[in-house]
């Protein structure tokens, strides 16, 4: 099924944030083609301008995502052609690599990723009602065989990394006698991996086509900063605060973490901070320098480094976020990570945004 054309022009990049920044894109996307046509004609953006840096860095992030989703697609096919324990381990590793590459660019909520709910296609989250499992189970029942086309036209809950994670890691499947190498599971694995690789290819191409428009449209500076702010809000207030029971109800809930099935939620958080550091911070530094706000550059670098260091130290202990929630000591460690990440959020969303005069709009905290 092809969604109605008009739907492609407006979409939300992830479940929680229906950020106002995205509205700017409604207009921007309409001009995507025009922007591409202008590419040769205009040269106002220099390579050192903040948006030129952001465009190049995010392009790098998308290229990595494309490479790793392709590798995942191939690993899926290898595994399904000749299933073995080692091929399964390899496949799980490739899933992790690609999922982490997604986490690194997850904050980008404008541009081609905003078309057709693509962010949800990569990762439908949060999924409190376990739609991922239910929609995947549909393809594992009654002799159905999934194809990439069928997956692309169906529920978004079964299109992305979480559905693959379900097939590769979920304990309940083994309990029901379902193995990843079963014909139906393999059909679904390859269909989803193929769909992801296809989406990553399109996002890459469209990000390139977006270049001139992005670099020559001044309002997209704020859009980019908003994206990072929203990404940090989601990271702190949802991805961390929800499992810790620090948001809404005071109850720990391991299922509210990014990757509870595979136990790599700490890794996803780390990757998202890495993404901020690699693909957002360089452009931001240039912007701060351009505006004479050099004094904010060192605090930015220091805070990014210390937040990353804290999370890496936790990862080294080789306990998953879910396991940490079960002990007082683990919970206390996660609390201090929460504080550390909150400081990063406070710095970027508060101090830096205020200094840059970035105005906030409706965002993820609006709904309930």
């Amino acid at each position: 099924m092809i969604r109605p054309a008009i739907f492609r022009s407006v979409s939300f990049a992830s479940r929680a944030p229906c950020s106002f920044a995205r509205l700017l894109l409604t207009g921007a996307l309409g001009l995507l083609a025009a922007g591409a046509a202008m590419a040769a004609a205009t040269g106002s953006a220099t390579d050192t301008a903040p948006r030129a840096i952001w465009h190049a860095d995010i392009a790098t992030g998308y290229e990595r995502l494309l490479e790793s989703t392709r590798a995942l697609d191939q690993a899926t096919q290898r595994f399904c052609d000749a299933p073995s324990a080692s091929a399964l381990d390899e496949l799980k590793g490739d899933w992790r690599d690609a999922f982490f590459d997604w986490q690194r660019v997850r904050f980008v909520d404008f541009g081609p990723i905003d078309l057709d709910s693509r962010a949800w296609q990569f990762q439908f989250w949060p999924d409190s009602k376990n739609l991922v499992a239910r929609k995947a189970d549909y393809w594992l029942s009654d002799g159905r065989t999934a194809t990439s086309e069928a997956i692309a036209g169906g529920s978004i809950a079964v299109q992305g990394f979480p559905a693959l994670e379900y097939l590769l890691f979920d304990a309940s499947l083994a309990g029901r006698g379902i193995k990843p190498s079963d014909a139906q599971a393999c059909a679904l694995l390859t269909a989803i991996a193929g769909h992801l690789a296809q989406e990553a290819t399109e996002v890459n191409q469209e990000w390139q086509a977006f270049a001139t428009f992005y670099k020559t449209t001044d309002t997209l500076t704020d859009t980019t900063i908003h994206a990072a702010m929203t990404g940090l809000e989601i990271l702190v207030d949802r991805r961390l605060a929800s499992p810790l029971g620090l948001r809404g109800t005071p109850q720990v809930n391991p299922y509210a973490a990014d990757a509870w099935r595979s136990g790599v939620s700490l890794g996803t958080l780390r990757a998202s901070i890495e993404g901020m550091k690699r693909y957002f911070a360089p452009g931001l530094r240039a912007l701060l320098a351009e505006r004479g706000l050099d004094e904010l550059i060192a605090p930015l670098d220091e805070q990014l480094a210390s937040t990353l260091a804290e999370i890496q130290a936790l990862e080294k202990r080789e306990r998953s976020l879910g396991e940490m929630l079960e002990t007082q000591e683990g919970y206390a460690d996660l609390q201090s990570l929460f504080i550390e990440a909150s400081q990063l959020k406070q710095l970027i969303n508060g101090r830096i945004a205020a200094a840059l005069g970035v105005v906030t709009g409706f965002n993820s905290s609006d709904g309930d």
Binding site: I6, C18, F20, K129, Q251, R351, A353, F362, S365
Partner: protein, 437 residues
Amino acid sequence: MPVSRFSLRPIAVVIAASAAATLSLTAHSDSTADQTSKQAVTQAAVVKNYTDLAFATFQDALTAAKALDAATDALIKAPSEETLKAAKQAWLAARVPYMQTEVLRFGNAIVDNWEGQLNAWPLDEGLIDYVDTGDYHYALGNAGAKANIIASQTINIGGESIDVSTLTPELLASLNEIGGSEANVATGYHAIEFLLWGQDLHGFEPGAGERPVTDYAQNDNCTHGNCERRATYLDAATDLLVNDLEWMVAQWSPDDADNYRAELLAMQPSAVIKKMLFGMGSLSLGELAGERMKVALEANSFEDEHDCFSDNTHNSHFYDAKGIQNVYLGTYTRINGSTVEGPSLAGLVAEANPELDATLTAQLETTMNAVGVMKKKAEAETKPVTFDMLIAPGNAEGAKVVSDSIVALVQQTGSIEKVARELGIESMQPDDAGHAF
């Protein structure tokens, strides 16, 4: 159409606060409006009218909830197809004014902190009563999802043991979010909806919940057990709803010098204007377009349907959107057909930027038309198509109906933000506006 609405809109109608003694707000004739239309609209007058609208809407919600309470009492007293049907009708009618109050939620913490007890959603209904275990999907990690209060004297949730032998409004209220899960909703419209309709086991096919009236039979005909406790539960939940609404009506009453309305009127008018716009934008975008439509549509998930037991989702969406329009235009059509109207945001914007006002007024109308299509499809006499059918996999036509509404809501939100800027409100984030950095 937008132009004519605009010119007909009374700009400075004064709502007779004195009429509040009889708990009714009077409508004003157009001639009154014409005489006063030359006066400049002040922010203070707009704020005052906003509190009047809120008061009238909550009053209507209370009136309709009392009718629901009476209808459920009649059902409990004499369970029959007729009394069950009348109770369902009363529930549907009660949603009409209540949903128009939702725009007051965001921005007014007093409403937002209170409304969970009335309209929390989605809920894991297995907390309340029996469910079809083969077709029941609850929130991951919710220890209370299958507690079944009606069938139990004691429930155990997350290591906590709770005596539920006597079902009172206070007990039910205390059970909300028990065990720390937001999906544990023991009270409010949706709990009552579940008690009247039961689970909708039709998936994407036509049909709503089909709870048999014998679930309330106080004799050997009782189905699914515990009919007496089920009736007591329904009675307590409807009583609580009335109580809660009475409290909120009092908060907006013009007769009290020490309530929330008085607090708002004592504030800088621009701070209240900001609350108004924040409510409109938050409901339009994050909540209605996002959580209530987009998730359900994109995931083909009828579990994410707002009124999933009764299949009344189209009306919830319609009257949510209506509430947004009400706040902007400064008008509200009461359940008795009379109109409350007065100085409006639209009037303020029209003075500052007539083009923006015309745009937003037209966009709000476009939204009403879009959700109107949804309502019309659901209420068609032949082959009605309800929201859970619109979002079925492969239903391109249905998807378009929903996405048209989403697009319209997103577009109006853009203009709401422009209005905020036009009126000098810089940040729409309520907590750290302009300071605390």
